[in-house]
């Protein structure tokens, strides 16, 4: 055994550049952000110590809670709906289309549903901002062509429709990700399990419930974890589509923090918002990973 402790010492040198840069770019800014969350600061001059003021204000701030509720809507649109739809689609493509129409057809569908995922979030937002535009957008144009003028509206500029519109866009954007991962997961399932189930008289839905969903649980975990975190971080689409408006009807915490940092110059308050979101995200990550390792044991 050559790789014992005595020879291990030299490996520290290799970590040095990465660790120094990590401290400069991530650790120090992160700690600074926590630090400023305990202060009142306009971004110039000396920050004034404020104790827990910003956090107290946060818990009373109805705008923050509105942004948090909208974040839960994003969770539905980015995690729950795409995961469920993705499971169903993956099972249909793998267990039905592949058998009846061949694997080429199935891969074609997979690639097409994945297409929105290759776009930068901002570009995806722009595509839809334009389609939903009240004056020249394609959706209102389509409704007019079909003689449904009374259904046309300012989709993103109206309190009732802004959040649902953003949610539909997020489903469209996200769907390909769980689909591709679930289909990859299905590849490692032994086809004989399905054959045996068919012989035992299991119909398609039984096979879906008891075999497909059960066997790709690790993939479902990964998808739930990554998309939950992504939904808590969502920023680009909101920036491009609605800037949080109208009012605060599509405001999300990341955008709320951005407003406080760069529009209202409330650095302390912005830091408190982002610190709370960081704690939530890290706690969720730990929760998911513990659940996953508990399952694997």
């Amino acid at each position: 055994m050559l790789l014992k402790r005595s020879t291990n010492r030299g490996y520290w040198w290799f970590l040095l550049p990465g660790l120094i840069l990590f401290v400069l770019v991530i650790a120090i800014p992160f700690l600074m952000n926590i630090g400023t969350s305990f202060t009142h600061w306009q971004g110039v001059g000396t920050p004034k110590w404020a104790g827990l003021d910003n956090y107290a204000r946060l818990f009373r701030d109805s705008t923050f809670w509105a942004s948090f509720r909208n974040n839960l809507a994003m969770l539905v649109a980015m995690t729950i709906v795409p995961t469920l739809l993705g499971l169903l689609l993956a099972a249909v493509l793998y267990d039905y289309i592949t058998n009846k129409f061949g694997s080429r057809t199935a891969s074609f569908f997979r690639a097409a549903f994945y297409l929105p995922q290759i776009l930068p979030v901002a570009i995806a937002g722009i595509v839809w901002a334009w389609i939903l535009h009240p004056n020249y957008g394609a959706l209102n144009g389509l409704l007019e062509t079909l003689g449904l003028e009374n259904l046309t509206r300012n989709w993103l500029g109206n309190r009732q429709t802004a959040l649902p519109s953003v949610m539909v866009i997020m489903v469209w954007f996200q769907l390909g990700y769980p689909l591709v991962i679930f289909m990859a997961g299905l590849q490692r399932i032994d086809p004989e399990i399905y054959e045996a189930a068919v012989l035992d008289g299991a119909d398609w839905f039984d096979r879906f419930r008891y075999i497909t969903v059960h066997l790709i649980r690790p993939e479902i975990f990964v998808v739930l974890l990554t998309t939950t975190i992504a939904s808590l971080k969502v920023f680009g689409q909101i920036y491009v589509l609605t800037r949080g408006g109208p009012g605060s009807s599509t405001l999300v915490p990341s955008y709320f923090a951005y407003q406080n940092f760069f529009e209202k110059a409330n650095i302390g308050y912005g830091s408190a918002i982002s610190t709370v979101m960081t704690v939530i995200i890290i706690a969720l990550t730990i929760f998911f990973i513990r659940r996953q390792s508990a399952e694997e044991l």
Partner: protein
């Protein structure tokens, strides 16, 4: 992705029936809904504003015009944006992979003391929301006269991406065959040679996947570049397109052209990288 056929699943006797065509029809309708935005963007990017005003967004262009595309290209100096995006993404991909490699060499192969804690640290850094770093990064880059430079964006994303890369590569390296390492050491390899002559060649496929991920992720980034790059000649493609969207009085065809020009590079990368990506997505999901 279409070029990779799925491993065929089990065969069972085909029942003749029209049920399967209902399923296919439902899938085709879903597909239409997913692809419709792309189709609308493409046909309207090639229309003249008059054509659009007369026939609306859903008609076929009466004549194919590239005026909108040319106008947008010149208005935002698109060549410069492409160059900025390429420079930033490619540099981050190279530096990010290199940093991940060095970190993972120490953690996965060297198994240095405290590696579990370091791995947890990298993993947590990987999940941090960018808004918790953005203001200090903005402030510090101003203090160090690095604000509004491509260099600082490259530096920041190299480190952020390498947090993920370190985590992934360390777990790959920890399964590296011990015999191979020992044989190399017996042959008198020093650590640097071990890394670049043995480990890098063997793990080239994983490094390629990382490179691809880093490139595309960085290309798609919005939040930090939006804040750190303010002058026109340094902005990236998503920022240029996204900021222009906020301006009023955009013509519909111009809007469409900007969306098309935003989509095209990603589509090209997708075609170039699809094999690596498909492999990578599959690899990532098994964990």
């Amino acid at each position: 992705m279409t070029s990779l056929p799925l491993k065929s699943s089990y065969k069972k006797p085909h029942k003749a029936g029209i049920g399967r065509f209902f399923v296919l029809a439902a899938l085709l309708i879903a597909l239409l809904v997913v692809l419709l935005p792309f189709a609308i963007v493409i046909i309207n990017a090639f229309k003249t504003p008059e054509d659009y005003a007369t026939y609306g967004p859903l008609s076929w262009p009466t004549e194919w015009s590239i005026d909108g595309i040319v106008e947008f290209w010149q208005r935002v100096d698109y060549s410069q944006k492409l160059l900025n995006s390429l420079l930033i993404s490619a540099s981050v991909a190279v530096i990010g992979v290199l940093l991940s490699l060095l970190n993972a060499f120490a953690l996965g192969i060297g198994r240095i003391k405290g590696r579990i804690w370091l791995l947890i640290l990298f993993m947590v850094a990987n999940t941090l929301p960018q808004e918790s770093l953005v203001y200090p990064l903005y402030y510090l880059s101003k203090e160090f006269d690095l604000y509004n430079t491509r260099f600082v964006v490259i530096l920041i994303f190299s480190v952020i991406q390498s947090a993920f890369g370190t985590y992934l590569l360390s777990s790959v390296f920890s399964t590296f065959p011990k015999e191979m390492l020992e044989a190399a050491m017996l042959d008198g390899c020093n650590k640097l040679q071990l890394l670049f002559k043995i480990i890098v060649p063997v793990s080239r496929p994983t490094l390629a996947v990382l490179f691809t991920f880093f490139f595309i992720w960085t290309w798609n980034e919005f939040f930090l570049p939006l804040i750190l790059l303010i002058s026109n000649d340094r902005q990236t493609v998503p920022i240029a397109v996204g900021v222009l969207q906020g301006q009023r009085n955009m013509e519909a065809t111009l809007s469409s052209a900007s969306a098309l020009l935003g989509i095209l590079p990603c589509f090209i990368f997708f075609l170039i990288f699809q094999r690596t990506l498909t492999k990578g997505i599959a690899a990532g999901s098994v964990k």
